[in-house]
Symmetry: D2
Subunit: 434 residues, 4 copies
């Protein structure tokens, strides 16, 4: 079925001179550093913020009125899918993402929930024939009260088992729909208070669970990536997947660093005290960059604001790190962003994404121009040029000892003199491109 | 020489009923859970805040007037040592800590700096005959302008080499003085801007350097622990040793997780978005708890305020995690705390430590009472009791698969029901002891 | 009707030696500084967190199961009231607080909503015969979608008018029930983005509205206080009643500083970057201290966590400022605190309040002991003693001029010498009492 | 004398196509909305960060090597002035700013300090003949230890008197040099701990002092503005001039709201939890916008980072509010920004300002284009259009009562329906211009 929710709106055109709704910067087929913008950016629209969230916040109830609400029947779930795929078409995005919980009403039992997901996946398969692909699927293991104390880290082993079933079902569906990745966000894998928490035990449970997820991926022949999405807190006081460095340590501990990557969200980076580009650069350094959730968090609001990106200079720095790291691979740019709850209209859903896609396109183009210009990399190389000498390299090689280096330093009476770090000049340089 | 700075003040007595300067709670020989309080707490006074810092802050200059300032000659360095050991005596602390930079003026050359440290170490050896032991030594590789862009992570390999000499000297002195640990705080191991930073390269440099430090420890037969002190930022925008979880990942990456532990500071935990007890619990879970820097950070000031601890309930929770983790081992409770810059008097130096030691003593006693009561652990055990069954354990054992568990969950139509987490009751329970 | 929700639980006794549920510190009739603890503390239980909130958070749905949920009929509203008054009895609190929205389902029209509130007020009147009094009433003008862009500051004047009716109804009911105060919390009086906001206009609307509220109070002869509750943000990006100092400026601007006071919440103080005692001290300095909402905010979570207070040293400092300021007057100690969403049980509702009341009692007693001891005030007086001289006083008096004072300073070649601020000693001193 | 510090560098040209050091956007004579860019922006270079700060931070010492350091003689003070005015010439800025403490070494007595300031002012007078004007002068009453407990709020009345002399001298010099404003930043007007602070008394002292400053301004015929610079904390735990709203309340309390305006700093706004444009909009609403200190604070560092502005979209929103508010008047755009301490070179001083001036120029032009386009204002007007009716206006007029409005609302059974706030569309709209 075609949804009438968007009144048959045409696909949004690329038209830099338009006065109306149009892409001014995102031209999917435009070549940037040898690939189309579409191939670089791999945009995805998320299901949850756009089609599920009703506009509630902690101090207020529903503000949005969508014809498929409350979506508690399979018919309404299909109506929701119709609207979703209609929006994907209007935006021309190549990908979308979902949780099981987003796309079908929960059943009265575990197996009914499973069966309903399979049923809606049948419907998606038809819809996807001419439409977008699945960037990633995931399981919502945080909203239902059964998960209030965690999913795989729950004190109740039945919840752990319940999660095994849920993840299996979601992985199966993701695999069937050709998903390019499977994501785990540990929304309640963490604690509210250490007073009732056995940290060590819960980390073991989580590591064990993830290992089984990886094994299952191989068993079913799923060739997508398994991704963890770091977040430091909210809803819990502390989440175990705090940030990229924490996740890396966790993966190393369980020997999974070559099996699992990260899905980095700008807003989560901010909440952890990092810039988005920092988290991307860290993931690149560790070899675990998977995908990104593009949004923005208000730097001065301490909760997850999930706003649409709108600051081009910041976005450019993120794509700069991505391009330097070799691009997004199987990952993509998923808009984990939601309308403000006062943005009531169907066209707000469209306009917000169009603006965000344009911001990303500008950021990508600026990042590519910076890389092609090469000024920043040349300055960086010059800064570390001293390390190119044989003596310097020897200090990093096997066989070097503190003793040996110290002797040499003392004999030479080294007195290294600092040189300017030129931060402001480099910032100015970036400003030529954004 | 005996310093006259404290006017020959008597050692501070334990006297709960005193109206004057006395320990009301810290009774070194009192037995708590089978050990003396002195053995549990292993208090140390730090050199830098007490004898080096002049009261400056970013908006103001020197406020303190000490007779050994500016301490730019070896004679003044000895006068400073006289005052320091006098203060250790008055407080009756069993340990102290220092950086090279704290105890001797820097020389005109690398070797002169080295020689001066050795010379002051001779002086310390005499002073330590009846006095406190060295909890740890460390090298200040962040104050001098040569370190402005990092120590082992510096873009200039000569700085790396300079650091090798400096650390060797400090480790040698620490070893000679019987130090129980050697600490590395990477004050400028991080970056100001990603624009001029090669993150991956710098992490490699830092890993290589630490590996050589560990090798050197073994070479010289130093049996103390090597400790890294996590801090997320300040002075740099981002420090590589962000928090305990990040350090753990770093150690795992370089295969050093059995060689290096952490020195956890309350204020640094706060700046990283964690509670102190969280960081201790994480280190315990990873098996890398080394020592603690006890202080407090104002939760609402975003810089390192390094105040003396004064909140007993918080301190009790920290010692609770320490006691649960088996105690401080070779580590101790070092007061990395400084007077407010308006606290000008010699007696402020004494009173601040007496108050802090009493706060720790109350915290320790409360923690021990909680453990001995056992209520908290009983509640925790009950919460996870479900995991004791064979079926539950099997899910965590080798051979378990997602598939197998999922099948079982679906067959059983599991429908786990949440139970109260009782956070408020547990908080009330804690309040009976603090 | 008597609710069976609490299974006929007895009133919680004062019994310091109890092993079970009992007050260990709150003894209502105990005399502290000439008044009973009940008179000092004036405890109130709030309706919203205890009887309305279902355990939802931004990432999860209902966790609590109460027999009166979803409370969408007048019968369920009465069942809810039965449980509420049962809980008030068990706790022995002298006061309670509510929003219109908490106590009756919203009607299909403005007047039906009004009439339902009046109807439930009739029911309350019966219940209050032997029970607690009303500390304050208030109107919920933030949950319904009509308020999504503000209440009195709404861009739609019909919302302003709607609010006038709603507040009149709530004030009438508060007056009828003998409420001691009427509170306005401007949950959405603020903005999401300056881009669509006319700040100046909205402040004018808000000032005008408040002036009419004050006039109406006098018209109906309500002798309680009108209170504004400051909060910096959440739900909105910026709330106009940011903190005590901001509210004071607002009141001065509209000439209402003698008509309106503040209801200060610990958690809101924290979110604004202040300590609770700071906000109380500021309100005292401005003469606008009205009442307090006692809770605690996690210092490291950037949203309104509304936890029960549990840190006695902090609570003691708050009551110290309150006692110094002359006490709470018509105000009280309202627990604007909610269970963690995992605390599912009826007894969690009771235990959380018992613990919180004990924490406040301990805080009050410590504060009183500090004041009676007088040490802190003596130190403070000594610090400012220089201002007692006639010359010093003259500088603050009318007629003093910069010129005259400058001449005198230069003639005397003043060279003021700083003296120790003794912060650590004062902190130690406080620790003798908490 | 002409300083050789900048090696006779030419004035930086406006040359959008330059590959070297040039203004690409700041063209002083270009007309924007009827005025030149120079007239709109009124750039000023500050003395303190550029010519006084030695590169210290809390964990490290001097990094900069300037020939005039340590500037502890009048000859070195003149050499510093030579370099400063040379830099003003190279940048072509129309204004500069200074503290007394920046431009002359402190004397051995109050009057010697005064006389030295007068002497250096003579030197400035010569230098200013062809050069920049003074945007504002101010007194540093926070660096010397005598101010450690505050300036006008000091517990020692002699400090109050000392400040009277200091401010008189600085106002006299500012007046003599034709300064357009006189600024007071209360760096230590606040507290470290409430335990030793008499908040109420200190606020009275501060109000009295400011009143005398205003009187003195009139006495000497100074026609510039008196400006207070808000900052929430740092160096103190709490500063009384917390933010614009707090300062407004303070001015109202002492009847000074028509005599004193604010100098708003981006970094201080951030530290107070506000956006820069928020503070500007608030000041405009209160009629107290004076001048701006342009810089940027790292949103994730909790201290005053004072970086050069580099984010054009953010700067554009600030100038948008300024232009809407009628422009900067006697105020200007002062760069209260400092090099990173690794930026050692003379040319870093120049390049940083050139980049910042370009960022401001781009921001101004974007802001002007937005205003001239009118789209944002049209959307805002439409949002509040309902208030244009007579009925709506009557609700805000004298004579309106809560009662009357409530009656009308109930009779009409008002049921206001929300309309979209369109935040994302407006953000997209802004992105067309930045």
């Amino acid at each position: 079925m075609t949804s009438t929710y968007f009144n048959g709106m045409e696909a949004v055109p690329f038209d830099p001179d338009s006065d109306g709704l149009a892409f001014r910067h995102y031209n999917p087929s435009e070549i940037v550093m040898g690939k189309t913008m579409a191939e670089h950016l791999r945009f995805a629209v998320c299901y949850w913020h756009n089609f599920v969230w009703e506009g509630n916040d902690p101090f207020g109830g529903q503000t949005f009125e969508r014809p498929w609400f409350p979506a508690d029947t399979m018919d309404l779930a299909r109506a929701k899918a119709d609207a979703a795929f209609e929006m994907f078409r209007i935006l021309g995005v190549p990908f979308y993402c979902f949780h099981d919980h987003d796309v079908r009403p929960e059943g009265d039992s575990l197996t009914e929930s499973r069966d309903r997901l399979n049923e809606i996946a049948d419907y998606f398969e038809q819809k996807m024939e001419n439409g977008p692909k699945l960037l990633w699927g995931t399981a919502n293991m945080f909203s239902n009260r059964r998960y209030m104390a965690g999913a795989s880290t729950n004190p109740d082993p039945d919840v752990f088992a319940y999660c095994a079933s849920t993840v299996r079902t979601c992985m199966d569906v993701t695999h069937r729909l050709g998903g390019e990745n499977y994501v785990l966000w540990g929304g309640r894998e963490g604690y509210e208070t250490l007073l009732n928490t056995d940290l060590s035990r819960e980390l073991e449970q989580m590591g064990r669970f993830l290992s089984m997820v990886v094994d299952y991926k191989h068993k079913i022949g799923f060739t997508g990536e398994i991704l963890i999405e770091p977040k430091p807190q909210e809803p819990t006081k502390h989440q175990y997947d705090y940030d990229v460095a924490t996740v890396y340590g966790f993966l190393k501990r369980f020997g999974l660093e070559n099996e699992v990557k990260v899905n980095i969200e700008q807003g989560h980076a901010i909440l952890a005290g990092h810039s988005f580009e920092h988290e991307i650069a860290m993931a690149t350094a560790f070899g675990i960059l998977g995908s990104i959730d593009m949004n923005r968090n208000d730097y001065q609001s301490g909760w997850d604001t999930d706003q649409f990106p709108n600051n081009v200079p910041e976005v450019a720095l993120a794509y700069y790190e991505i391009l330097k790291g070799g691009g997004l691979g199987k990952g993509g740019t998923n808009f984990d962003a939601k309308l403000r709850r006062q943005s009531l209209d169907a066209e707000d859903l469209i306009a917000s994404h169009v603006g965000a896609m344009d911001v990303c396109a500008r950021g990508l183009k600026a990042a590519a121009a910076m890389l092609e210009d090469g000024g920043l990399e040349a300055a960086r190389d010059a800064r570390y040029a001293g390390w190119a000498t044989a003596d310097a390299q020897a200090m990093l090689a096997d066989g070097a000892t503190l003793d040996g280096i110290a002797d040499r330093a003392e004999t030479a009476e080294l007195d290294p003199q600092p040189v300017s770090g030129q931060q402001e000049k480099l910032e100015n340089w970036v400003n030529r491109f954004v």
